[in-house]
Amino acid sequence: MEALRLFARGVVATAVLMLAVPAAAQPPAPPDMSGFWINQYTPDLSAALGKQPPFTEFGAERWRTVDTAKDPTGFCLPVGPSRGFTAPFPFLLVQHEKMIAIMFEYQSIWRAIYMDGRTHPDDLADYPYFMGHSLGRWEGDTLVVDTQGIDERSWLDTAGHEHSAKLRLTERFRKTGPDTIQWSVTYDDPVYFTRPWSIERTFTRGKPGDRVLPYTCNENNKDVEHLRPNQPNLKYKHVPEPPAAKKPPGEY
């Protein structure tokens, strides 16, 4: 009898708990970012940053001597994961609980952002992607995407900022209105940069009925035979950033 009373009390307590916290236990549904979006064209990331990124000595020398005739996209090689979002062409975003697909008009190329909790493959460094391997998760209303395994042959922009195979991108997508997404991207590459650095851009929703248009880069790429060596940064002087000031003990 005592056992039955205890059981009944347990059932009631559980029911009360279930009634009391259903809203709090369920995370809010993530915002719907699906649609046709227009990039903010950014041919030179340093223009968005307001200065050159914090180059290592190696990164600075690569920038000083870069030959823009060797831009991989000039040869129709894939644009890379972040440059797809800074080119002057729109993209489609298709959102699913377990995956988000980005379909760029530029080069008719795509990115898959896996949302199912998987990790990066162990052999990613041996089999890199030009567009990188991307894992996404929701942090509140913000989509956070970690991208690694980015083929070092891709460039970060048209101006000629390069990267190594160690590049790791962290992107944050946040809707700032029904028709705008704020996109911030952090470039972390210890070979080229002394510390991670970030820029922020805005995507604007297209008009109803907008569609992506054909862009098959190799259809008629006659430019390639006319490219000639072009090194616009030979006068660049590298000034390393001063080391971060050490905080006195006891200060945080």
Partner: protein, 133 residues
């Protein structure tokens, strides 16, 4: 004053047209901003194709006819700016302002083009869909 406005318009034209090629690769790797050129001739062929449109014009040159290649913007960008692949036809006479290719070939990057009746052609590539910076 007139000249000032014209110069400003040319500057805008250069900036917008330069954008269209800058997506694909650096302008200066292919063309020379120090070598502007104006050409007039009849269109012999049009290639509405990616990554950039090309068309060809016959230009009279000291008694001979020279066929020049003219490069314009990306088809999708031009389409959204209202241009179509039949906006120009073989035989149309067009005057081109642009910059010479650095490799010395008969190739020009088009900054401005005007048909014989005064209509512009394949210009205004900076649209809502390619707004910059």
């Amino acid at each position: 004053m007139q000249r000032g406005i014209a110069a400003a318009l040319v500057a805008i034209g250069i900036a917008s047209s330069g954008l269209s090629i800058a997506a694909h690769h650096s302008f200066a790797a292919q063309y020379d901003r120090e070598k502007p050129i104006t050409l007039k001739g009849a269109i012999t062929k049009l290639e509405w194709a990616n990554p950039h449109i090309y068309f060809y014009i016959d230009v009279a040159d000291r008694g001979a006819t020279v066929n020049w290649a003219i490069e314009g913007g990306a088809p999708s960008t031009l389409y959204r700016a209202g241009w179509r692949k039949d906006s120009a036809k073989v035989g149309d006479v067009v005057t081109i302002d642009g910059f010479l290719a650095r490799d010395g070939s008969k190739l020009v990057n088009m900054q401005n083009a005007v048909l014989a009746d005064g209509r512009k052609l394949f210009v205004g590539t900076q649209t809502y869909y390619t707004k910059g910076r």
